[in-house]
């Protein structure tokens, strides 16, 4: 099981702030493919990964990062704090 968190317009686009995913995926890229297949909202919101940032266990990673059961994955836009 992977916990997936969404923030900002990714959250409002998908309509969820988090979901728990049963998956065999071992890479973040494979997980994102599975997420895109879950609904039209997922598919549209996650369409262009160049507009998104990814984190695994609260550390920034690329799409080729490994994932394992129990990981916390987060998907969000570039940050605009400060």
């Amino acid at each position: 099981m992977i916990q997936v968190l969404y923030f900002a317009w990714v959250r409002s686009g998908i309509g969820l702030d988090q979901e728990t995913i049963e998956t065999e995926a071992t890479s973040l890229g494979a997980l994102v493919e599975e997420l895109r297949a879950r609904s039209d909202k997922h598919s549209q919101t996650l369409a262009d990964l160049s507009k998104l940032r990814l984190a695994v266990n609260q550390t920034f990673v690329d799409l080729d990062a490994s994932i394992a059961p129990g990981d916390e994955v987060a998907i969000f836009p570039p940050m605009t704090g400060g």
């Binding site: 923030f7 900002a8 984190a55 609260q58 920034f60 969000f76 940050m79 704090g81 400060g82």
Partner: protein, 156 residues
């Protein structure tokens, strides 16, 4: 010191706490970020504007602590402070305070700018602007990325 909070802060008290009772701080640089009026035409509808700051609890504190530690590695700082608010704010409200104390002013200034530049691009905060009931997420700015990149080390 790192604080992520919904409540407002008292800048004078926070700055004073960084140097009071000490005799070795010569320079204290600080930066205060405020919510600006977002209406294209300024003063029209003050009550119709808000900015909501969303963040990623846990990762925010982790990233701010990392950024702060990096500033201490790069400059001779005696004390530093990052306070960042989240939640719904109004024009004129305080958003962020960064402060650095050092024996020397160049170190204090540089570390303060570094903290702001890295915070902008590495701390997971997002701004939702609301004007007259219409909300939209603020886009990240290329100029912030450029500002952050100037601190990249040649050997990194």
């Amino acid at each position: 010191m790192i604080r992520v909070q919904a409540e407002d802060f008292n800048l004078g008290q926070e700055i004073a706490a960084l140097h009071e009772g000490r005799r070795d701080v010569g320079a204290l640089a600080s930066f205060l970020g405020l919510v600006r009026d977002m209406a294209p035409n300024g003063a029209d509808r003050p009550q119709d504007q808000a900015m909501t700051l969303e963040h990623y609890p846990g990762m925010t504190e982790k990233m701010l602590a990392e950024i702060d530690a990096e500033a201490h590695r790069r400059w001779p700082l005696q004390a530093s402070l990052i306070i960042h608010r989240y939640g719904r704010l109004l024009p004129g409200d305080q958003i962020v305070l960064v402060a650095c104390a050092s024996p020397h002013r160049q170190a204090a200034f540089e570390a303060c700018e570094f903290l702001m530049d890295w915070l902008k691009t590495k701390a997971p905060f997002w701004k939702l602007e609301e004007i007259a009931g219409q909300g939209h997420w603020v886009d990240a700015r290329e100029s912030d990325e450029t500002a952050a990149r100037r601190w990249n080390k040649a050997d990194a």
